[in-house]
Amino acid sequence: MADLATIALTAAGLFFFVAGTVGLIRFPDTFTRLHALTKADNLGLGFIALGIALQAETWAQVARLGLIWALALLAAGAMAQLVARTALEREDAE
């Protein structure tokens, strides 16, 4: 039962990861790409972490998985805002 749930959850996570990457590749400009990837990869990591948590042997591992996801959310949110603002201010093209 837990195995089935793990498979479903990690499949969903993988789907969001791939969707985020496809968005990163396909979307036309910097800001839509940013939107695609912050949404998708955080959901992807969340589902994968949830799926793996069902396989965990101790509560400490579950707590670690939760902390990992929280940190990733924090980092992605802050980074998306700051990089978008930098990109707005500077029209650099390499």
Binding site: D3, I7, T10, A11, G13, L14, F17, V18, G20, T21, V22, L24, I25, R26, F27, P28, D29, T30, F31, T32, R33, L34, L37, D41, N42, G44, L45, I48, A49, I52, Q55, A56, E57, Q61, R64, L65, L67, I68, W69, L71, A72, L74, A75, A76, A78, M79, A80, L82, V83, A84, R85, T86, A87, L88, E89, R90, E91, D92, A93, E94
Partner: protein
């Protein structure tokens, strides 16, 4: 289960390869930077999947990566500011920034 998790890990790796394409292509520095950020999240995801496959201590490495995931991005916005030590939010928004998103195009908006 092992087989499935290995497949998921391979899938995450493939998705990372896609993000690497964007690091290569750019065209703007911000594009490369956020693609690198996606690789970072993917790396964390990969380590999380490796934990039951190989060693639960992989979670500790994932934790460190997740903690420092934004470090490079912070370094980037710092280095990109006028004096190399600023914050992109310090300057008030310009009218140019406030224009609706649809009118803003990537100067070299090649895609596909």
């Amino acid at each position: 289960m092992t087989l499935w998790l290995t497949f998921v890990a391979l899938g995450v790796l493939a998705s990372l390869a896609g993000a690497l394409w964007r690091v290569w292509r750019g065209p703007r520095e911000a594009d490369r930077m956020m693609a690198a950020q996606l690789v970072g999240t993917g790396g964390v995801g990969l380590l999380v999947v490796l934990a039951p496959l190989q060693d639960w201590a992989a979670l500790d490495v994932a934790l460190v990566l997740a903690l420092l995931a934004a470090l490079a991005a912070v370094g980037f916005v710092k280095a990109r500011s006028d004096d190399g030590a600023g914050d992109p939010e310090e300057a008030p928004p310009t009218p140019e920034m406030m224009r609706p998103r649809q009118t803003r195009h990537d100067p070299r908006g090649r895609h596909g």
